[in-house]
């Protein structure tokens, strides 16, 4: 067994591709294979590659040894989208019941009122053929139907209107706009003092429940002026999430931008000046995005 380990070790070192990974499969392809989701053809090709690439073999092993049995939370017995659908159905049924009941009560009310009217008018006897009462009844029924139709139309979800997305932000349906723009945090950011890649001046951007956007005000200490300014947002690993130019510098040396809510975590905003086709890094701002329970509990 010990000899096996020695042989394996030597075999792996001999098949180390070093820095040249140009022929290696993508991490997505390896992950798919490790999860048993690759096609037979891909599996055969990648297996052949693994025989001669110890780096990919190690990565495949790491991915294959991730725990595959992922369980739901005990409370989550229904899949989220199924739960939303069943909630929507129940809400629609309740609404229909309510409108129906309301329409019936209006009909009855109108009937009573028309009877009373007819009686009050008659200090004189009600029209013997009942035509006046009948006419009022038909009219009130028509009005009730109209009200019910308008109610039904109002309760029907409108075709989603898409609001132009922010850089890197998801499209927002009009129905969710109202919820998206309430409790929007406004954060004043000073440049970070960056020390060995870790920022000492990380600023928290807390998103209260329902808020999908935040307004950030970037302060700069750089006095030099540039033709244009851009800002880039990166995650903790340095992956660029979005970049946007055309920022306007205010007389108070600030820049304003709105960002969409991102998953909780650490991010960096980098401000750059653009002049003569050159991009000059100016400032960086470290932020930590955090979701908080509700606006009230956040006080």
């Amino acid at each position: 067994m010990e000899n096996d380990e020695r042989l394996r070790e030597i075999f792996q070192i001999a098949h180390d591709p070093g820095d040249d990974r140009s022929t290696c499969p993508s991490s997505e392809a390896l992950a798919r294979l490790a999860a048993g989701e690759a096609s037979a053809e891909d599996r055969a090709v990648i297996a052949r590659h693994l025989m001669s690439c110890s780096a990919c073999s190690t990565e495949f092993r790491e991915a294959a040894e991730l725990p595959h049995r992922i369980h739901k939370s005990p409370s989550g017995k229904i899949r989220p989208f199924a739960r939303v659908a069943s909630f929507a159905l129940a809400a629609a049924a309740l609404l229909l019941l309510f409108i129906g009941g309301w329409a019936l009560s209006l009909l009855r009310q109108n009937h009573d009122l028309s009877s009373q009217l007819a009686q009050s008018r008659g200090m004189r006897p009600v029209a013997t053929d009942g035509s006046e009462v009948e006419q009022l009844r038909r009219e009130s029924a028509r009005q009730c139907e109209r009200i019910a139709r308008l109610e039904a139309e109002a309760s029907r979800p409108a075709a989603p209107t898409v609001v132009a997305p922010l850089p890197g932000a998801p499209s927002i349906a009009a129905s969710s706009v109202a919820a998206s723009f309430v409790n929007v945090p406004i954060i004043d950011l000073d440049p970070s003092a960056v020390l060995r890649g870790e920022s000492r001046d990380e600023r928290e951007v807390a998103f209260p429940s329902g808020a999908a956007m935040a307004t950030l005000i970037l302060n700069t200490r750089v006095s030099a002026r540039y033709d244009d300014y851009s800002v880039t947002m990166t995650d903790r690993s340095g992956n660029v999430l979005w970049t946007s130019s055309g920022l306007i510098r205010s007389p108070d040396d600030t820049f304003t931008l709105m960002i969409s809510k991102l998953p909780d975590g650490h991010y960096k905003l980098s401000l750059a000046g653009l002049r003569g086709g050159k991009k000059v890094p100016l400032e960086s701002y470290a932020i930590r995005i955090r979701s908080v329970g509700s606006a009230r509990s956040n006080r």
Partner: protein, 175 residues
């Protein structure tokens, strides 16, 4: 429902899975930061949901995203020279110093050439299984890759290793 809300719902349904899945692989590994990997995985999930992608089977999807993030992190760490997983056997870093020794390196090169010669004398199935086994995979993983049953794979590897050791001894290699 916005993509952020869908992500939150998804992660609420499977609490802590990303973190616990990654934590086991990251623990004690230089160059890998658990918080960083978890955030990267969350962003990838969020992007998938943002693109209105329908996630058919959330558990496997989360797992695959975790695996992809882990592999990318290993690749980045290797490029930065912060993690050398190939030299890590068990808990010991053994080979870096050996590789620095020209004599040992030459010996290793000769040994690998002898292993290749020995493998060439075997049938294709045995040689393929042995190559994957020598790359550090276990019998279940080799079986899955070659689409064989685990007992058949185990048997081929067991007999193959016996034969390989015999061939190497015949070439004068002492193990």
């Amino acid at each position: 429902m916005t993509s952020t809300e869908r992500l939150e719902t998804l992660l609420r349904e499977f609490p802590g899975v990303l973190r616990s899945a990654l934590a086991r692989r990251v623990r004690g590994r230089p160059g890998l930061d658990l918080d960083e990997l978890e955030q990267e995985a969350r962003i990838r999930l969020w992007k998938a949901l943002e693109g209105e992608k329908t996630i058919e089977h959330p558990p496997s999807y989360i797992n695959r995203v975790a695996a992809t993030v882990l592999i990318d992190a290993l690749r980045r760490a290797q490029v930065r020279g912060e993690s050398v997983p190939l030299d890590q056997v068990g808990e010991q870093f053994v080979s870096a110093s050996e590789l620095a020794n020209p004599q040992r390196r030459a010996e290793s090169r000769e040994l690998i050439s002898q292993i290749d010669q020995a493998l060439a004398t075997m049938g294709t199935d045995s040689a393929d299984a042995l190559r994957l086994y020598l790359q550090g995979l276990n019998t279940t993983q080799v079986a899955a890759l070659l689409n064989w049953t685990e007992p058949r794979t185990r048997n081929l590897i067991y007999r193959g290793m016996e034969r390989l050791r015999g061939e190497l001894r015949g070439m004068g290699v002492s193990l």
